[in-house]
């Protein structure tokens, strides 16, 4: 017998090609998914986010205030979504992540500019994701010299020369040193869990099907709900251990601040973990074999990384991509974990992110139970 035979090699090759051709769905996924993803992420991702939601607090009715606001909008980096006179309300909007910036124009701003008193113009930025707002902050700095140029004419022309007519004050909130790790490490908790939890359950039923034990399971009186909960529950423990390890590393290796309640974070984690396990289980009710289940998992993981606000600024994405992102549990959990750890917010502030998780969880579980066929038809 020869050590290497081209004919034998060809025999194996031919067999593999035949089998590849038979598994049409897998082949379609291998070809279709990359194209879909290229289009999706190619159009969705934007590293220079514009139209960031901004709240303004204007205490000065003068014309310079209006000019400043107009300049903000014209820069295309800021989109004014709210106006408030209460610093408390402004902070609440920042805490909840409703706005990325709050711009405060103090009382008598116009008068003080005219008098050459150099009043301060304050911008507060949510710096949990330092990258998201950096271009906008740079644009804001440029406003200082240009915003009032058209107004400072005639007797005020002198103000346009020399020192800027007002002082710019930037407050970086939540992450004053713009430490990227403070943003990435809590985000990784969301992403690592997405990867592992979905993987844990995506084979739950496909494995039973491939091993032939599925028929036995169906022949016994267990209901689809019992089977689903029974298969999901033990994995919650694995998710909890994994989360604990990640949080310990975050605390003691990366020194990530943990301002909020860890118990609250734990409760939110359990909701998040169960939602992800349910996704994996739902995949296993749909996939015909293990390879398909794995592909579905990858198909779910990529948008969770790219569209959730983990890798790229959420606010920078076009509206349709944000809607897609809002469906994903990772998007909401990212806001929860960053909010609790870096902003120290409580249940009231995270609730807008918790109920979408619960809704997602119930929807996915309903799909899984309905997809579970009680007969072999």
């Amino acid at each position: 017998m020869r050590a290497f035979s081209l004919q034998r090699l060809f025999a194996v090759l031919a067999k593999e090609f035949i089998q590849m051709r038979r598994d049409r769905l897998t082949a379609a996924m291998v070809l279709g998914i990359p194209v879909l993803q290229l289009m999706l992420f190619g159009f969705a991702i934007n590293l220079n986010p514009k139209n960031l939601p901004t709240a303004v607090s204007v205490d000065d009715p003068g014309r310079f205030s209006r000019s400043i606001l107009a300049a903000l909008v014209n820069s295309s980096y800021f989109q004014i979504v709210g106006q408030t006179n209460s610093p408390k309300e402004a902070r609440r909007l920042l805490d909840q992540g409703k706005v990325t910036f709050v711009v405060e124009i103090p009382a008598n701003f116009t008068r003080d500019v005219v008098r050459g008193l150099q009043p301060s113009l304050v911008i507060e930025a949510d710096a949990t994701d330092p990258a998201a707002g950096s271009y906008a902050l740079a644009a804001f700095t440029a406003l200082a010299t240009s915003a009032l140029r058209d107004d400072l004419v005639g007797p005020l022309a002198a103000r346009a020369q020399g020192p800027p007519p007002f002082q710019l004050v930037t407050h970086l909130l939540y992450n004053p040193e713009s430490n990227t790790q403070y943003n990435i490490v809590p985000g990784l908790l969301a992403i690592i869990l997405t990867m592992t939890m979905v993987l844990l359950t995506c084979l739950a039923l496909t494995r039973e099907r491939e091993r032939g034990t599925y028929e036995n399971l169906l022949a016994m009186p267990a209901t689809p709900l019992e089977i689903m909960l029974g298969k999901i529950a033990p994995n919650i423990l694995i998710g909890a251990i994994q989360s604990a390890v990640i949080l310990l590393v975050a605390r003691f290796v990366f020194a990530v601040p943990m301002l909020g309640s860890l118990a609250l974070l734990g409760a939110a984690l359990i909701v998040y973990i169960v939602a992800l396990l349910a996704v994996g289980y739902a995949f296993s009710t749909i996939a015909e074999n293990q390879l398909q289940a794995m592909q579905m998992t990858v198909f779910f993981l990529l948008p969770s990384i790219l569209l959730s606000g983990f890798a790229f600024p959420f606010m920078g994405m076009p509206r349709w991509a944000q809607w897609l992102g809002e469906i994903l549990p990772a998007t909401h959990f990212l806001r929860i974990v960053r909010g609790i750890l870096l902003k120290g917010i409580g249940l009231r502030e995270i609730w807008p992110e918790v109920w979408p998780l619960l809704l997602f969880l119930s929807a996915v579980m309903t799909i899984a139970v309905m997809r579970f066929r009680r007969t072999l038809d």
Binding site: R211, T213, A219, M220, P221, D377
Partner: protein
């Protein structure tokens, strides 16, 4: 129950796409009997059994299984029927005991520990209870599977080729178990390809291309077939089989042991064919009772 019938179905039909897998099958099995379900591969045995135990929804037909409607009461049937799948379908990464305990819990059995222990004892599995199911040989796997589907005290056992790939000793033990259970009032429907197993059944039904084509006791099935079989013996008789097969009236020739079975329905034609051979060669011919296998192979050949 239902006039003493454990299974009473009429017109059971199942289609897969355009293929008619089971075609208007009627089965009525009295309580406490052991029925053999025979037929070639792909003839619809497994599909019929799955419809009986609620794993497939019949497209047509109606009836009851241990008194529950096969169309509407699949869940009640599952609770009262023991179904043993053709392929071993217990968890190979669980031990024998763990498998049985799992089943006991799923059926919400009271007194779980005692029942599992009793079943292990009954099947002689105590010494192996800690062994992983995947490590067992075919015979032990089958024994464990029987134990697992008996655990909840079903009134009816549906066994789908339980002895395929099992050695003769284990097959014999298995049938002893089945007869023991039947003596205690359990009804059994068992599909098989083995003729000796068919002969251990009270009655048999034979399914071909989704239709029941024969049924009754073994003697009845043989008589119904009106098949005539001659046994041809002599030196090297096998070499005449092609020649005999070519003769008119010879429907089927098979080599059993060291003799040829030559079967057909027309006595005159058969005898004429055999006379020709006898004139040319030194062979002995005598008429014999056709065996069950003769009957089945002839049925199958006729259909093809």
């Amino acid at each position: 129950m239902n006039g003493g019938l454990a299974i009473d179905v009429k017109g059971l039909t199942k289609r897969f796409g355009n293929k008619l897998a089971v075609d208007h099958v009627d089965i009525a099995v009295p309580e406490g009997e052991v029925w053999g379900f025979l037929g070639p591969n792909g003839s619809g045995k497994t599909t019929t059994i799955r419809m009986l135990c609620g794993l497939l929804r019949p497209d047509e037909g109606s009836g009851t299984c241990i008194g529950y409607d096969v169309r509407r009461q699949a869940e009640a049937i599952k609770r009262n029927v023991g179904y043993m799948t053709q392929r071993f379908s217990f968890w190979e990464d669980l031990s024998i005991r763990e498998n049985l305990e799992f089943v006991a819990r799923i059926y919400e059995l009271t007194d779980r520990q005692r029942r599992v222990r009793a079943m292990l004892e009954q099947l002689g599995l105590e010494r192996r209870q800690a062994q992983l199911a995947g490590e067992l040989s075919g015979g032990w796997k089958q024994r464990m599977a029987l134990g697992a589907c008996m655990l909840h005290d079903p009134k009816l056992l549906l066994l789908d080729e339980p002895t395929a790939g099992v050695d003769p000793q284990a097959r014999r033990d298995f049938w002893e178990q089945i007869h023991g259970l039947s003596a205690r009032g359990l009804t059994v429907l068992v599909s098989t390809h083995y003729m000796d197993e068919a002969e251990r059944c009270d009655r048999i039904v034979y399914i071909l291309n989704g239709k029941l084509v024969a049924g009754g006791t073994v003697a009845e099935v043989i008589a119904q077939s009106r098949l005539i079989t001659f046994i041809v013996s002599g030196e090297n008789v096998r070499r005449f089989s092609d020649r005999l097969r070519a003769q008119p009236g010879v429907e089927y020739v098979a080599f059993f042991g060291a003799v040829l079975h030559v079967s057909g329905h027309d006595r005159n034609l058969l005898q004429r064919a055999l006379q020709q051979i006898q004139e040319d060669e030194d062979v002995q011919v005598e008429e014999a009772q056709p065996s069950l296998e003769d009957v089945f192979i002839q049925l199958q050949e006729k259909a093809a």
